[in-house]
């Protein structure tokens, strides 16, 4: 189960990097190849889910084993959502590749690098059982949010200045939003890893009832 999860995460990491490049370089072929990878991620999600169900039903795991199984079930959902967002980015890349040459916002590749490293480090934290590393992932989410707000502001100004480019600029805005969503899913992954290692639920600290 652990191996299948790690392989699935590897595919998702690759999809993020490829989708980011396909969009920045408006590379239709790379976008199509990346979209094709989504099938393997979906299959992996179903297989891992079934594996977890089997283990729950047959072996009735307890304590840390139970925590691991539930964690894996949640992680595959987040990973699959990230892969879907990468597919969305590739679809926009395909659309842009059919239009006039256009340089996407220079911060988009930076955002891709940060998001990819967040997914990678969240999974590395699981492998090395390091909650410190997982906390670093959570902190990096603010960096992505700041990049998103900056891109959003600059795109808004560019749309006002050049209304003819609005179509392409809206695509860039959507991609920035999806990258920001990917960072949120990576944060979920990191929170789950902390739960597994420390047994402490760090989600929504303000919503928790005392005691």
């Amino acid at each position: 189960m652990r191996q299948s999860l790690l392989l699935m995460a590897g595919r998702v990491e690759e999809m993020i990097a490829r989708a980011g490049r396909a969009f920045s370089e408006r590379d239709a072929e790379l976008a199509r190849k990346t979209i094709d990878l989504d099938g393997a991620v979906n299959r992996a999600e179903i297989e891992i889910d079934e594996m977890c169900m089997r283990i729950l039903a047959r072996r009735q795991p307890m304590a840390s084993d139970l925590r691991f199984v539930t964690l894996v079930m949640k992680m595959v959902t987040d990973l699959e959502r990230i892969a879907d967002l990468a597919v969305n980015i590739c679809e926009r890349a395909l659309d842009l590749s059919r239009q006039e040459p256009f340089v996407v916002h220079t911060d988009i590749p930076k955002m891709v690098v940060v998001v990819e490293s967040m997914v990678k480090d969240a999974i590395d934290a699981l492998v090395s059982r390091s909650s410190t590393k997982a906390w670093e992932v959570i902190r990096r989410d603010d960096e992505v949010d700041a990049l998103y707000h900056r891109i959003f502001g600059e795109l808004l100004e560019a749309m006002r200045a050049e209304p003819t480019r609005v179509h392409a600029l809206i695509h860039v805005q959507s991609v920035a939003k999806w990258l920001e969503r990917m960072a949120d899913h990576s944060t979920n992954l990191a929170e789950l890893v902390i739960f597994m290692i420390d047994g402490r639920d760090v989600r929504h600290p303000n919503e928790r009832s005392p005691g």
Binding site: Q3, L6, L7, A9, G10, R11, E13, E14, A17, R18, R21, S24, E25, R26, D27, L37, A40, P101, F102, V103, H105, T106, P109, V113, E116, I123, V127, E154, E157, A158
Partner: protein, 475 residues
Amino acid sequence: MRALTRRWRTALVVYAAVTLVLTLLVGSHLDAAAAASSASLWLWLGVIWASSVALTAMALLSTQAALTNAMQSLVQTFHAGDARTRPVGPEDSVFAGIAGSVQRMAEELDGAMRSLASERNRFEAVLETMAPAVLALDAGRRISTANRSARLMFDIPAACEHVELVEVLRLPAMHAFLDEVFARTSSETEMELPGTQRHIRARASRLGDGGVVIVADDTTEIRRLERVRRDFVANVSHELRTPIAVIRANAETLLDGALESPQTAEPFVTALFRHADRLGRLISELLDISALEAGKRVLTAEEFEFGELVEDVLAAHQQAAAEREITLAHTVPHDLWVRADPKATEQVLVNFVDNAIKYGRRGGHVDLASSVEGQTVRVEVRDDGPGIEPQHRARIFERFYRVDSGRSRDAGGTGLGLSIAKHLVEAEGGTIGVDARSPHGSIFWFTLRLCDASDPAETDDEQAPPARVFAPPEN
């Protein structure tokens, strides 16, 4: 008695039997001779015989114990890994021969072990310094060896022995490749490492113990060079053929009768002139590049006022800028002295400004700026045009590389200007590049050596004079 070995036990029984017979013989002889107090005689003889057997048994036991102890200490010494320690006991003792044999055997073993260890160290040193990445896995896909190149190539931590590969390397292409290798005996593939965009060629073979060894080479640079060579040959023939075809077609038209009427002939002759001129420029630039690559063009290092050169270049481009309603401006201090080849520097600057005007936004701005970093000056030519996509930025200094081939050819470029500029700047020990400008546009930059006499503080960008604008001439 059970403590003695069987052979020694037999020897002791034989000794007891022989001495018993001797004692009985002596006893019967004395008994017959003395005939008095025979009971006492037999008692004494029995005591003597029993004592002699007991003493012999004790001597045998102590000899055997000494030998056992000596052997034990010898074995313990070997076990501790030191075969050079001499065994205990005198040289003439009964076990000296045995101990000597054991000692020789241990020394031979130790020698073999040392030679194996040195062989292993040598093998590991060779493996570590090898350029190709070597990754050996056992049948359970756990890492048994990963050399330095492999650790760097796949970003694997140093302490990775016996760790499952998927824990440290989640590259899907690699795992798919391994599935194939485990199903066959050997295989070969090419794959791209995500993130770094490097290409590798990996070959894998099965090992006798069910494991796999993978040897991988970084082929990124080879692929790039192959592409550059292929593109160059294709481009140079294309670039030469196009003007020749136009010249021939126009000359044919003129010969077919267009020559008779000066009005009809003029556009053909103009096209002939334009394409002949382009062909001439192309050939002279090709020769220029070839001279630079062969190191035949000698660059001189002179000290001159860079600010003055900037003003001259901008003034010469004023007309071209005005045609595209582009405003030229610069913030380069007039007294910025640099040490370089003036002609080469001018050629680079002219190329950058020329490109910025040709590909910049109509009605936009082209700015020149300089900043001093240590002993070098960074010169930037900024435009606010559509910008250059990242994949083109990496290749734009290659010969004949065109971002938008139709457009740049229409603009009269030969496709060699930036490549020549790169050669010139690098020949003078500088660096050259292009960055994206936010929100759009490009920054072409190169570095020059600052003149020793020039004071960096005075030429810094922050203290630069207000921008001098070259306004388009009024029509």
